[in-house]
């Protein structure tokens, strides 16, 4: 038979037990949270990698990336050669008041110009301040954490294989070629 009031007593016991335990609250402003390396805090930009291809701006579901660029003409180096053109980035801005942190711009960038940083303390008193221009986005780059280490038995990254092959080839060539001072 169930004794009436057992549930009530159990409720009291539970809350009392919780009172004697240490609370598990994260003391946020005093102690920063330990965020996983791929947390989506703020988007950082390596301006040098950007070719103003506009892929990120076009794929952005919230239309929060603004890009202005112009073409620079590089005159031909040889006589009668063709002039080259190059994209120069004038403005790159992300409006974080619109951004929904979907990460599509970062996935879509072919030149790895955009990265996630786990910094998240960039609240502003004025909503217009939340539009980060390219110099501010560049500054965030310093806070981007290193990529997560691979699993112990994982295949090495493709880039490493390519770089290794190139290095080996260069070494071979150097061995074949005689040293510069021996040349007549």
């Amino acid at each position: 038979m169930r004794i009436p009031g057992v549930g009530l007593a159990r409720g009291l016991a539970l809350t009392m037990r919780q009172l004697t335990r240490r609370s598990v609250t994260a003391h946020y402003p005093d102690a920063l949270p330990e965020l996983p390396p791929r947390s989506r805090g703020v988007i950082a930009l390596i301006e040098e990698n950007c070719t103003s291809c506009m892929l990120c701006a076009r794929e952005c579901p919230a239309w929060c990336i603004y890009i202005d660029s112009h073409k620079d003409v590089i005159p031909a180096t040889t006589e009668g050669g063709k002039d080259k053109t190059r994209n120069v980035l004038d403005r790159f801005a992300i409006d974080f008041s619109i951004c929904m942190y979907c990460s599509i711009c970062i996935e879509v960038c072919p030149f790895d110009a955009l990265h996630w940083s786990s910094e998240f303390e960039y609240a502003e008193l004025d909503i217009r301040e939340l539009t980060h221009e390219k110099d501010r986005l560049r500054e965030w780059m310093w806070t981007v954490p290193a990529p997560v280490a691979l699993d112990p038995n994982a295949e090495p990254a493709k880039e490493i294989g390519v770089a290794q092959k190139a290095a080996e080839k260069a070494a071979e060539k150097a061995a074949e070629r005689p040293a510069p001072e021996d040349r007549p």
């Binding site: 009530l8 409720g11 009291l12 809350t15 609370s23 609250t25």
Partner: protein, 319 residues
């Protein structure tokens, strides 16, 4: 002259207790409730574990705008918080802290306190009725219904103690008290405490406020200082209820070294009961309005009547 001075001192003491102890209970509630829920509660105000949080809250409330709804009954709306608060101040006047340590020792202290506590509820009712808001009105009606239902077991339980002690004076009851009353008057203590909780509208009996159902009941339209007064009334109510429970059922200042430390015993017992009030709030969800009524009439009133019979038998046997 010295008599006037003594009276002034007593009144000042009661006023100080009235201003300090409810804040103390409020702070204990902040911290104890937080830790019972695995949180830490206020940590910043006053630099050490948020001890000044309620003072900061008070300053905030004072700064706020005093709004009276256009359709409200202005006069009633404005005096309602005072009507809710003052009775508890008056009640504190007659609750003894130690032998002779009382604002005013009345021969009918128990009767007086219970009458005055009933009046405190009128403030909520006035607030609910005058706000011209349907949620306030619902809350006000719930207050009235709750008062009707719980005043009866409250008074019956108190009457049981008065019968056992043979006096209505609170000081006299403490002097008559002896430890085995804990057993003899146990049911009365339970009934008194529970119906007292309902009377000061504390969870799990806070249906008049029930923020998930009717916004904030009678206090919906209140803001700023008037709202703060209502909240202060709630905590003063806890203090009065706890002190009454301590004095009537737990022997007031009786305890080891009670000739010197009597007042400390009363305060300790009061704070212990206040802690239970907070504890119960954390542990239990709010009852439904019909459950509240059924609990009062089908459980508490019969229990109180049973206790009266037990007390009567005890009094006759020991007489």
């Amino acid at each position: 002259m010295s008599e006037a001075l003594e009276l002034a001192l007593r009144l000042a003491g009661v006023l100080a207790a009235f201003l300090v102890v409810p804040l103390l209970v409020g702070q204990v509630e902040h911290k104890a409730m937080a830790h019972m829920q695995g949180r830490v509660g206020p940590m910043y105000a006053g630099a050490f574990h948020g001890w000044a949080q309620l003072i900061a809250d008070g300053v905030k409330f004072v700064q706020k705008e005093d709004v009276v709804p256009a359709a409200a009954d202005r006069m009633v709306f404005k005096i309602a918080p005072a009507v809710a608060l003052v009775p508890y101040l008056v009640a504190m006047l007659v609750i003894p802290l130690g032998p002779g340590l009382v604002g005013q020792d009345l021969d009918i202290g128990l009767f007086f306190v219970i009458a005055v506590m009933g009046a405190g509820v009128i403030g909520s009712l006035m607030g609910g009725w005058s706000s011209a808001n349907k949620f306030s009105l619902l809350g006000g009606i719930r207050v009235a219904a709750q008062l009707m239902a719980y005043e009866l077991p409250f008074v019956l339980a108190a009457a049981s103690v008065a019968m056992a002690a043979g006096t209505l004076s609170l000081t006299g009851i403490v002097l008559e008290w002896s430890p085995w009353w804990l057993l003899w008057q146990g049911i009365a203590m339970f009934v008194f405490f529970v119906s007292g909780l309902a009377e000061v509208q504390r969870p799990p009996f806070d249906m008049p406020i029930a923020d998930a159902e009717i916004v904030f009941g009678p206090y919906t339209e209140y803001g700023g200082l008037r709202f703060a007064l209502f909240i202060l009334a709630e905590y003063a109510g806890i203090v009065v209820l706890s002190a009454l429970t301590a004095v009537l059922f737990l022997g007031g200042w009786r305890g080891p070294f009670d000739d010197q430390l009597g007042w400390l015993w009363t305060l300790l017992k009061t704070m212990a009961v206040a802690f239970v009030v907070i504890w119960v709030r954390v542990a239990y969800p709010r009852l439904r309005e019909d459950q509240l009524q059924r609990f009062a009439w089908q459980v508490l009133v019969p229990l109180a009547l049973l206790q009266l019979a037990i007390t009567a038998a005890g009094v006759v046997m020991t007489a």
